[in-house]
Amino acid sequence: MKRRHFLGLAGAATATALAGNAMASGHSFEGYPNSYGVLFDASRCIGCRQCEMGCNTINSENETKPWTTLPKKDPAYFADLKSMNDTARTDSTMYTLVNKYEPQALGGKSPVYKKFQCFHCKEPACASACFVKAFTKTPEGAVTYNGSVCVGCRYCMIACPWSVPAYQFDKLVPYVQKCHMCHPHIKAGRTTVPACVGACPMEALVWGKREDLIHQAWERIRSVPGTYLPHVYGEHEMGGTNWMYISSVPFAQIGLPENLGQTPAPELTSGALGLVPLVACLWPVLLGGIWQITQWKDRKAEEATQKAVAEAVAVERAKAGK
């Protein structure tokens, strides 16, 4: 690396860290205006897995990049409703999955279904954690992944509060796999809405602008009093997400943690990262100073000793001379 290139890099790191710090103290990013998202209504979902099949179809029949293409699954796989449970999770062969819960709120017997996929955060943890900028928050709302730079450190999987990104552990050249909200397919005109939304027969999934979806969600909550809990999951969680949920049972009982807080993920690290340039600038001066001081003190002590010795010798000589 050329020295100038390196200095530029160091400068960029400093600037980013400082900007991050500024952001932490006066947070102002409101997310992309007019970005799209999806609203999921747990009270409408019947657990038919059509969304899963729609996702697999569009992403396996259209060869895009290796990290945006899924292996084709037999339709019979999606017809199996008996094996649905509350522990299964997405892996590198699927972007979405419907879990079946039997929440305490309904006596522990009646099933409630929840579709799981990437939440497409307004300020994604994965993107801020990635050290090669493999993740992009698109102005359209989707969080996309570019495998061509991915090293495979899997810090995105650590950072994501919902542990969304999945990894191809079984491949020798592995990539991360995660829902891209059909971003490449909508761009290419293959579909107008994400395939899962298009496949849902119950309108449990609604596609639209995020602002409109929030409005619609609260309309639904208000219009049928007592049905929904007054909480739109994803409106504020981790600074807000583009995929949101409403439900008649507590979210914690359908696998959606309610302890995430409202702080966007990048803010959790930007403050500490902002101190890095401070250390890089202050430490050398401080350490250099300490070194100078110790050198100086040692030299002074040495001189003092020599002087004392010389004086003592002189005194002795004078005595002997007498």
Binding site: S128, V173, S270, V279
Partner: protein
């Protein structure tokens, strides 16, 4: 207090013979001889190579590890990276004491400390090659597509630069050995600049390793999660470094006594007592530092809540307070035995802390059956890496002037 003025000046081969030693490394007979002399080490070596082949050419990560989508980081991160970097902190603590603070009697401790740090960091990077999915892309974050908002970018950049600094700091041992004193001479002129760079880079990435977990408030147990994690990691790394110097010095003394000069042996106990006192003070501060977030964020209730509370108390009392006390007692009574015990406990304590943060108290949202436990092959790789470090250390200190001054520096100090 033991005195070590015995022992003759260790023999350093003249440069011409040094090249002969290097050439012998290319001969199979050297290795057959090694197998005959060290059957257990050879067995570890064979197992390590077998897992390596499986990891890169046959089974991939799925065929070698117990990692899964819920547990993307395992023992290769918890032990090889987090513990490896912390325990290699002896490099910056010793060079700071010897060269920046100019503490008398530390000069001879510098070369072993730099060698340990250099090998430690080199093998941290080596172990990372196993862990990341596409290791041939490891230079990408710095040279191709830098993600500057990432804590891991900061870690990667600092570790890369620090390995370079350590390689330069270590190089004179090699160039003296093979008879290229001019190179050594140039590097010696840069000693202070290199030392300061080393300390700055160590401060940054030791703390950044703790910073990695700031982004996971909902996954790491509240007793360990704190905005002060970076500070805690940095301060505890000083303890790790100093304890490792004492711990390792004891072992080296046992096995490499013949390589140690009279001056090294004379200084040895002084370094031990000085670091014991310093480690005791730092541990004392660290003990209270760990309480600050508990009080500041009002986490008192967690201290008496279930198994995580027990783990926290064990870490705090058994691996922070106890070594702190033992170091202090050992220093007061001038007991090298107590200090050595304290250093072993402190080293173990760092492992306990890093394991708690990255493994035992991490991913607490998972059900018990989803939790991670390393596979045999993962453990084999970690043992293999430690073995390689020890073998390299032994080789270098057997031939180069690590525990003594090179004959060509007779008049230098």
């Amino acid at each position: 207090m033991s005195q070590h003025d015995h022992g003759a000046q260790p023999v350093i081969l003249p440069p011409a013979e040094a090249w002969g030693v290097i050439r012998s490394l290319l001969k199979p007979s050297t290795y057959l001889q090694f197998v005959k002399e060290h059957p257990i080490l050879s067995l570890i070596f064979v197992a390590g190579v077998a897992v390596t082949v499986n990891r890169f050419l046959i089974g991939g990560l799925a065929g070698t590890t117990n990692l899964d989508n819920n547990n993307p980081w395992g023992i290769w991160i918890s032990f090889d990276l987090l513990c490896g970097v912390a325990l290699a902190a002896g490099g910056y603590t010793t060079t700071a004491a010897a060269l920046i603070f100019n503490i008398k009697g530390f000069r001879t401790a510098v070369k072993p400390a730099i060698l340990t740090a250099f090998l430690g960091y080199s093998f941290v990077v080596y172990a990372l090659l196993y862990d990341v999915g596409q290791p041939w892309r490891l230079p990408y974050p710095v040279f191709w597509s830098p993600g500057t908002s990432s804590v891991l970018f900061e870690v990667g950049l600092c570790v890369m630069l620090y390995v370079t600094v350590l390689a330069i700091e270590w190089l004179p041992n090699f160039t003296d050995w093979v008879g290229l004193p001019k190179i050594s001479h140039i590097i010696h002129k840069c000693t202070i600049a290199l030392t300061i760079m080393g300390i700055v880079l160590s401060t940054m990435h030791q703390s950044s390793l703790g910073m990695l977990y700031l982004i996971t408030p909902s996954k790491l147990h509240p007793l360990w999660y704190s905005p002060q994690l970076p500070l805690q990691f940095f301060v505890s790394s000083m303890v790790a470094g100093m304890s490792m110097v004492i711990f390792e010095g004891t072992i080296s003394h046992h096995y490499l006594h013949g390589r140690m000069s009279a001056e090294y042996n004379r200084d040895h106990d002084g370094v031990l007592f000085m670091f014991a006192k310093a480690a005791s003070i730092v541990l004392f501060g660290y003990f209270f530092m760990k309480w600050v977030p508990i009080a500041g964020e009002n986490k008192w209730d967690y201290l008496f809540d279930g198994k995580f509370a027990v783990m926290w108390w064990v870490e705090m009392l058994g691996f922070v307070a106890l070594p702190c006390l033992l170091y202090a007692l050992g220093y007061r009574s001038r007991s090298t035995g107590t200090i050595k015990a304290a250093s072993a406990l402190a080293v173990l304590g760092i492992v306990v802390n890093r394991f708690n943060v990255s493994w035992f108290a991490f991913n607490i949202q998972l059900r018990p059956e989803q939790r991670y436990f390393p596979s045999a092959q993962e453990v084999i790789v970690s043992v293999f890496v430690v073995t390689l470090i020890i073998l390299c250390f032994r080789f270098v200190s057997k031939y180069m002037a690590i525990f003594s001054d090179h004959p060509s520096y007779k008049d230098h100090h």
